[in-house]
Symmetry: C2
Subunit: 391 residues, 2 copies
């Protein structure tokens, strides 16, 4: 089923590249915000040394100097770790797959948010895990329901995107994070904390990660695996992410990584290490936050202006996505057909549910829009919705 849904989304993305189509469908970071001079500078620096190691096999765990940079970067997020606990991956997607390979046996139960990140559902489907979805509200996953499930049956892991979830845009509150860590410890459940968007906070205060919280709870130290990526903050095409994992687990993941692809691209790792060492990352993050904030606000305002009460949506504290629903209850896939004709595309919510989809939901990405295109996109979406409602 997920294979078909995945194909449907891939089909959809073809429309998003047609001229005159405004895309709210992509999950991609804004290419106009890439720090091209900074990336090229890092590349030039690496190449100027004519170091043959740039092109040679590397170690499975990742380039040592990059892992050191990641350790320093994590400390800024409140996570104390060492290079020996940092595993470099080919994006956080590979991190998820590694975890699934090492920890999930066919039939194992994993809790996911409802709605959940599509590509995570694909990984867990590939692992033949049994997924159970837990409703998510504005404060993140419903912890009472998590506890009800854990007290009733054996669960292997909980998968969460706690900051500005894809697609929900929701952020898990500090209180719920604390309770989840306690539950994970009590019921011996693994928390998979996927945090690609954490640095793209657009408003509000930083909330400590589940990983950080777990380090302060005796007995819970090993219950959280933390995943992140350079895809949303630097360059997704370099396919580089990382995991922070406790010592015991680390070796198993590294052995699996070795069998799966030997190691992550050496050149990518070295470019990123030099970029981080250049000191350009923090200023770039400020640029990203300001730009995404402007884009989010533009899209929210345009939707209110053109669709009024016909659409409900949250205003996320960060990340790249609005999650909404058509209040008429119309199927978002039907609206999409009209939207393509009108010259705007989005992702219907359906593929983010692995069962019982809420068909009137949709995900809107503001990452690649401008204030002007946001207005036009909302205008076209209103037209499409009008047509769909009239059928």
């Amino acid at each position: 089923m997920l294979r078909t849904q995945s194909s449907a989304v891939r089909e959809l993305l073809k429309y998003s590249k047609m001229p005159n189509v405004i895309s709210l469908a992509g999950g991609i970071p804004a290419p106009d915000l890439f720090d091209i001079p900074g990336l090229e500078g890092a590349l030039d620096e690496e190449i100027s040394e004519h170091n043959r190691d740039s092109f040679q096999y590397g170690i499975t765990e990742g380039e040592p100097r990059l892992r050191q940079q990641i350790v320093a970067f994590m400390l800024q997020r409140g996570i104390r770790t060492t290079a020996e606990n940092v595993l470099v991956t080919a994006g956080s997607q590979q991190g998820l797959d590694l975890i699934a390979r090492v920890f999930l046996n066919p039939g194992d139960t994993i809790l996911v948010e409802r709605p959940a990140y599509l590509a995570a559902l694909q990984v867990f489907t590939l692992a033949e895990a049994r997924m159970l979805s837990v409703p998510t509200d504005e404060q993140g996953i419903n912890v009472e329901q998590v506890e009800a499930i854990l007290s009733n049956e054996s669960v292997k892991a909980i998968y969460l995107v706690p900051n500005f979830g894809n697609p929900s845009g929701c952020t898990l509150t500090f209180e719920r994070r604390q309770r989840l860590v306690q539950l994970a410890c009590r019921y011996r459940v693994l928390i998979i904390e996927d945090d690609p968007y954490g640095e793209i906070r657009l408003q509000g205060e930083h909330i400590p990660s589940l990983y950080e919280i777990a380090q302060g709870v005796p007995g819970a130290e090993d219950s959280v695996l933390y995943l992140s990526s350079f895809s949303k903050i630097l360059a997704p095409g370099l396919r580089t992410g990382w995991m922070v994992v406790p010592g015991e687990v680390y070796g198993h993941l590294a052995v699996a990584k070795q069998a799966i692809d030997l190691h992550t691209c050496t050149l990518s790792q070295r470019i990123i290490e030099r970029y981080m060492a250049s000191g350009r990352l923090q200023p770039r993050l400020s640029v990203l936050r300001a730009s995404y904030r402007e884009r989010r606000d533009a899209l929210c305002a345009a939707l209110r202006r053109h669709l009024g009460n016909a659409i409900q949506f949250n205003t996320p504290d960060g990340g790249m996505f609005l999650w909404g629903c058509f209040t008429s209850g119309v199927d978002a896939s039907m609206v999409l057909k009209h939207a393509i004709n009108a010259g705007v595309v989005f992702v219907p919510g359906e593929p983010f549910f692995f069962d019982a989809p809420e068909r009137n939901t949709l995900r809107l990405s503001y990452s690649t829009i401008t204030p002007a295109s946001a207005d036009e996109a909302a205008r076209r979406l209103a037209t499409a919705l009008h047509h769909a409602n009239s059928h």
Copy 2:
């Protein structure tokens, strides 16, 4: 078990980086033979366009222009295919893992050569496949024994490195390739043809691939999946390889690849595409062949000079490896302990067997040696063997 063996080899490689140690242990291509100016030229060309797509997400199947280059390259190897049948992977290691994920269920039987490529054994172990090894002689895998097994029990796949195998150095003859294709067709078994070394032929004539042969046998067209890589001919650190696969299978592998890592590093793919378009690959392959031939010959001569009949080994037609055995029957792991003291390292044969290892065997790589270091390496190896035999 393989996990431990893998760790043992990884431990060993630490010694190989110590000063004054001559390594015959590595499976790495010679860094002094990397075409650094050519790679830097390709990189400069890519960067000079300041194209943000170099750093953006790409499509799962691989960059279209790279796939076109691969199609042309495959034609030179005798394989006619189209870009729609070429899947770009993060090295052929990932290709193997993808195949295992899509085709192998736990308990499925897969035939492997004896001895077999260590990292392939790790992939199949991770997939919980049941491995059966088939003896390999100078002409490659024993086809009679393959047939005897196929006629007796259900086998899902046969894994082969037909050209200059790692570790055996053996090349499968044309006649055996034809028979294997016929057997695969008759018994509906998949052949996984792993060909990272095919371009590094040092003597003798090119032998058509199993894939090419299968295209000429009615009913066998879909029985071979072909894997190769830029690691041994260009730059392993770029982590880029490819598969040539029939249409039906292609979609399944692409969906799995999407779940596993979304796509291969965009920048790596673009550098390789530009390098291939520059026309430098064929001249570089000539340089590689001449250099590896010189190194192979130097190591063979040095071994004969210093060890005489104490070691038996083949002279491979290509690739990077000699496979040998100590005629005294001494355990190669014991010899290795003395060898480390003497300042030379190699890989004992044991990890290349998943059962009943032949403990007096060893793999010697000539890829990174010089004629002078070959002589010294053999001298030290003779000293180590003398000590081991005296214990």
